[in-house]
Every structure is written in structure tokens, then in C-alpha cells.
Amino acid sequence: MGKTIIEKILSSHSGQDCRANDIVVAQVDFVMGQDGTSPLAIRAFENMNGKELFDPDKVALVIDHSAPSPLEGVSALHKIMRQFAREKGCRLYDIGDGVCHQLIPESGQVGPGSLVIGADSHTCTYGALNAFSTGVGSTDLAGALISGKMWFKVPETVKFVCNGVLPAGVYAKDLILYLIGQVTADGCTYMAAEYTGEAISALSMEGRFTVANMAIEMGAKAGLMEADEKTFAWLRACTDREFTAVAADPDAAYHKVLQFDVSALEPQVAKPHRVDNVSPLSEVQGTTIHQAFIGTCTNGRLEDLRIAASILEGKKVHPDVRLIVAPASRKVYLDAMAEGVIQRLVAAGAAVVTPGCGPCVGTHNGVPSDGETVISTANRNFKGRMGNSNAEIYLASPATVAASALTGVITDPREFLK
């Protein structure tokens, strides 16, 4: 019997020929924490009598969730991270560098076959690079900082076969929202997702990151893709390191294989207050919005900003809407400036904030008021997520968010792409 991608990666990192439901202790290739989780991990590290990092070159701390600090309390936590990184010799990405899930792939630390853990639930993003990467809590992170290892239950895999061609104006975000709506928020709990099929192959790497990123929203431990020429071309731009693709065997055992045809897919939205509360955009078209946000580890990449700029170019954001843009990283920001994308966004009325998580987590950079409605390219719309439990959040693609920012109501972006 053959193996799934995750069975192969966990076998190679544990030295055991493992299968779904086995429990293994595996070596990790890279370990990451952000400012919401690292301070507790540092405390756990001390509580475990940790002295040194297992390998400082394989560790990074990222200040992205609440950066720059809006409050004294946050500043104190950031200071703990900076001190720890200095003392232990690991890399610290400080304010303005960007979102962890853009920075770690850009750094060339992760590629096909890698095993990465991050103290952030969206660490599953690097599955787009054919890596097994998963989110953990602070104590698991601390254990890995000390030992370079973590224990895993080898998950079963659900295979998502996405056939067909996405229509114009329908994007990776619409695809993953649709899939989440189909399988629901616990459709893959304790399991890995493998995304395959011609619609996945046709996506850019940016689009693949978007799809892998939201695997956690169906409860999945990982959102894996095969590596192809696009994957290796993307990696070559980031690093000279060599990676070997890990493919699933044709006779691998899956928990379930789901087939989808995306050819007739319409733009999708996730409605308040659940990520799996998904419907075609047409159902909520015309809903008044007060704030629009383009950014995050889901949709803050160059391609996303380009699409938004192409819709907003030469126009003005609706007077009753605030449009906030957070580039996913300093590199994305610079590249977007070099192309004139940032200029077009700002000229249209966007407020560009520091590369990082922006208002996604509700700590700063655009907390909505009571009764307001936000449309966002982020990955979560839970009540209170953006800092106000009396606000409503819709999730959509960058194109949909840009189009809605122009009209002041939820709008089908295809109206602007004719």
C-alpha cells in the first residue's frame, strides 16, 4: 500500500515507516513563533529549563500581529521576544517586515518535503510548497525550540480533486471559500487535506498559498499540494537550497476523495460569523459595507494587490467606506511600489498600513464600530475577530473587496473586469 504526502514526510522525519494514526516523534526543519504566541512560548521554554535553541538558524520569531505596538502591554511582550532572540541568536523579524506566513517562505527556509511547525494556526500555508507545516501552541513550540522535535499523530488525508478552469473574476479565494462551505468548519478535523487537480495546477503560487492557508478553517492539520515547475521556479527566486518533491503514491489510502468541478464557480463570500457560512456573492449583493480590508497571510500578496489596483485604478473609494491595505511583507510592499500598484491604491483612497497582520486580529489598524459591516480578504470572520463583537465581517477575494470598496455595497467584481 502506498503513502500520502504527509505519511511520507512524517516517515522521513521520524525514521519510522509510519501510516495514518501512528504516533511518532519527528525532527522539525524550521520553527516559528509570532507575537501572540511567542511570549508564552518563551515562558514555557524557561519553565522547561531550556538553555539553548536546538539550532538558532532554524528558528525565527516574527512581530506581525500587533505591530507596531499600539499599547504598553504589547510593547512589553515584544520586548521579551527581542531580548530572547538576541540572547539565543535566532532571527527576529521586527515591525514592518511582514506577516510570518509570507516571510518564512520568502526566506527560503521551507520547501518540498520540509517539516515546519509554527505557533500560529495558519502555518498550514506552506503546504502550497509541498511541505508539511502545521500550527501548534506555545508549549509545543517551546518543546521544539529545545529539542528540535515534536510528537505527531500521523493524520489521515482527505483529497480534494479540483477539476475544470476557474472563470474570469473568480479566484483562489473563491475556490477555498467554496470548499470550506462544502465540507464545513470541522470537515477535516484531525486530518490533512491534499489539494490536487487541474484547477490547483493552474493557480499561481500566490493563489496556492491562499488555498493552503485556509485548510485550518476546515479543521485540517495541513493543506498539502504537489510540487511542480511553478513551485520550483518560485523557490529559485528565494533560495539556492535544493529540495526534492514529495508526491503521493497512486495507491495511497485516503479517508475520502472529493471531486469538484470549478468551471461554473461564482465569486463566493463567507457571511458573518462563520468561515463555513459560505454562499455565492449574488445572495448578499448590495449589502452596505463601511470598511474594506485587503491584506493578511491569506490575500496580502503582490498578485492580490495587483488585482485590487486594477479595479481601483483611476477611481475613488466610496465616500462612506474606509479601505485599508496591508502588504504581506516588506518585499511585497517594495515590489508593489516598483510596479506602481501602491500608488494606484493610495490615489484611489486606500490607507496603507504597516506590512503585517493589519486589522485582522482586532488589536489595531482599523477596529470597526458597533453595527458596522466589514468586507475583508482575511481568513476569519468570527464575531469580535476584528475587535468589536457588534460588527459583522464578510470574507471575499481581493477583487470582490476592491469592487465593494468602490460602490459601498457588496459587489460582484466581474462588473469591473469587463
Binding site: I23, V25, D35, G36, T37, P39, L40, R43, A44, N47, M48, N49, G50, H65, S66, L71, G73, V74, L77, A119, D120, S121, T123, G135, V136, G137, S138, T139, D140, A142, G143, I146, S147, K149, W151, K153, A185, D186, T189, Y190, I216, G219, K221, R274, V361, G362, T363, V367, R380, F382, K383, G384, R385, G387, S389
Partner: protein
Amino acid sequence: MRFHGKVHKFGNDVNTDYIISGKYKFKTLDMNELAKHVMEDLDPDFYSKVTPGDFIVAGSNFGCGSSREQAPLAIKYANISAVLAKSFARIFYRNAINTGLPVLECDTDLIDAGDVLDVDLANGFIINRTKDIRIAVKPLPQVMIKILNDGGLAPHFRKYGGFNFD
């Protein structure tokens, strides 16, 4: 370990933002402070309703969403003795065991708000005193039992200097 207390009941997919909102968790590592806001968006008075030893009982996928370990810690510091659910999101589940918050998978349709329970962790069963029924608990993997018996992952590391599941 045996616990006795009354039930606070919630539905499916209780996410970690509801357990402890991002607007609080970035501010401090003081878990007593965070505990005051636990479950606030689902029940603004939750913290004041808890008698030490009480249980949170929920449907499926409890703890979905972010990886914040502040979620199980805030529950623990709010004096909840254990969380019972039909299923848990995996990061929350690991975090709970690692930080010593007991989490039990069982058929929570057999439990209603206000019921009084005895939970026997060592022997893996629950007695619903109000309904006078015994409820089976899905056993934890051996690795997790070992970590829980050591008092969490940090004490496990202090004891062995790393992972030791032999």
C-alpha cells in the same frame, strides 16, 4: 483525578476568539486577567457564573481557530475543571493537554446546562448526577496520558530533558 461541578453548555464550533478574544490576549500574560474575559462574546457574564470546579460542555469542534494557548489557560484560570465536547479542534486539544487542562470527548447530547456531573479522569467515565446516567469517555492516546500524568509538557521536559514516551 475526580471533579464535581455543574455544567455550562455551549454549541458547536466554539472558536478560540470566543474563548479569549484577540483584543485581550495580546495585552498581557496575566492569565487571571484574561480569565475574566473568557467566553465573553458568547456569554458576557460567564466568568461571574462559574463556581470553581464547574465544567464547560460543548458540541463538536470545540476550540477551532487560532493556536492561542491563552484559550485553555484562560479556561483553567477561570476555575473550570474540565472541558467536555463531542470533538475538539486539534491545536486546542494539544494545548489543553500540554498545559494540564483536562479535555474529554464524549456524547454531550446526554448533558444539559445546569446538570451536575462527577468526572473521573483516571478511570475515564462521567456520571451525570442530575440525569443519573453514566457516560463513556473516548480514551486519550498513551502519549497524552503520559504528558497529563507528568502535569503537562513543561514538567515532562523538566523530568526527562526532552520527549520520553518509552
